[in-house]
Amino acid sequence: MPACEELTRPAVSLPRSVPLKVQLSPAPASTAVRFQQYPTFGFTTKAQGIVRELANQVFVSEAYNPAAGPPEPVKQSYIAIWDTGATNTVISRKVVQELNLQASGRIQVQAVGAGDKVHEYETDTYLVNLFLPNNVLIIGIRVSEGTIGGGDVLIGMDVITHGDFAITNYNGQTWWTFRVPSNEPIDFVQEIEEHKKTHSSRPASTPEH
């Protein structure tokens, strides 16, 4: 995992209906961010330099309902890779073994390999709770088992589409940021147009010599 700094920033939004349950910790009102009415959480990871994989430490446990109280199942820390090319979240065999998970489903997977060949397999699925760095607990997410390059958890689009996810590489430093639930759209084209309008409407200044 690259050297990086993680910041937790409370945010707020109108929550949308999501198939998975997301538990949010309450955000201090004094730190609420713009355009936001309801508490949300987000985190920003700031890598030192450009990175080509987005990795974070997460915790995983067998699925349980936190509202039911103790005892809670064991949870362990793993390196997770964010992957928009994966429709769903995957865990490695190591996670399955260390948490003593038992399959509760099966799924057909299509993996795109060398030469764009699509390989189809059947694999077991497990129900887990996923603890993201931003204090967001995703309860009862169905994950499949596979071999993952660079980590033990692959965070797929099923998690990413719970909120807003962005990556920037300004000044040669990769930052990625995630918030749940989704807050507002990000539109670079709109930002560029607004920037142009703002600057073109300014009165021409006298050049300084």
């Binding site: 992957d83 090319g85 429709t87």
Partner: protein, 78 residues
């Protein structure tokens, strides 16, 4: 694990989706033993009743290939 249950679902997918649209069903062997609104409730109740690894949970979605996931990188399955 659960190959028999998954095979049963795939071969009866159409009728199960018609009968339990949007629900999570629990299958043991070739029998539907529970119908639930959400997967976590199904998991916790079936875990108590049958023990883990003995039941298959499946969402009955009226979408073609709803039991197929797709990966373009980083992951390999056996």
């Amino acid at each position: 694990m659960l190959e028999r249950e998954f095979h049963y679902y795939k071969t009866h997918e159409r009728e199960l989706v018609e009968r339990y649209p949007g629900k999570f069903i629990a299958i043991v062997g070739e029998e539907v033993v529970g119908v639930f609104d959400d997967e976590l409730t199904a998991y916790l109740e079936m875990k108590k009743k049958y023990g883990l690894g003995k039941f298959l949970l499946q969402e009955c979605l009226p979408v073609k290939n709803s039991h197929v996931q797709r990966y373009h990188s980083r992951v390999a399955f056996r």
